[in-house]
Symmetry: C2
Subunit: 82 residues, 2 copies
């Protein structure tokens, strides 16, 4: 079972990588670029005996809290993708 975890900085926190990229794109002539935000995506392939998406999603959420994300400054979404 494949999971996709989207990790984004919480709303309201500064995103220096996004600010720099926005400036670089506008310097290249893309004047329509109003805002840029960066996130991380992690694809997890789990080998599961039982096909229980809810239990597996709960496991992935625990992995996010313990290791993958920084819950102080980041939000995450978990999606089953395969």
């Amino acid at each position: 079972m494949r999971f996709r975890v989207d990790i984004r900085r919480r709303e309201g926190l500064s995103d220096p990588e996004g600010v720099t990229t926005r400036r670089a794109l506008r310097d290249l002539g893309y004047d329509a670029v109003a805002d840029v935000h960066f996130g991380r995506t992690i694809y997890l392939d789990l080998d599961l005996d039982a096909d229980d998406p809810d239990a597996a999603t709960a496991d992935v959420a625990e992995m996010c809290e313990r290791l993958l994300a920084n819950p102080v400054i980041e939000d995450y979404d978990i999606e089953v993708v395969g």
Copy 2:
């Protein structure tokens, strides 16, 4: 108009961040974790006069080729999300 760009390392290329994270998750007891891959997500907000998703998507693809992605080692997907 908001675009989401998913950037992933091409299939077959090594992903040291993923390998290290897989090991760390298994060390934490998540034995079901078979594989981990990392990607980047970039959210772009564009201020457009005309609401032409195709033209705007082409612009975003050009931004990927010129600045956002590394086409030599990365693939990207562009999606209109708002």
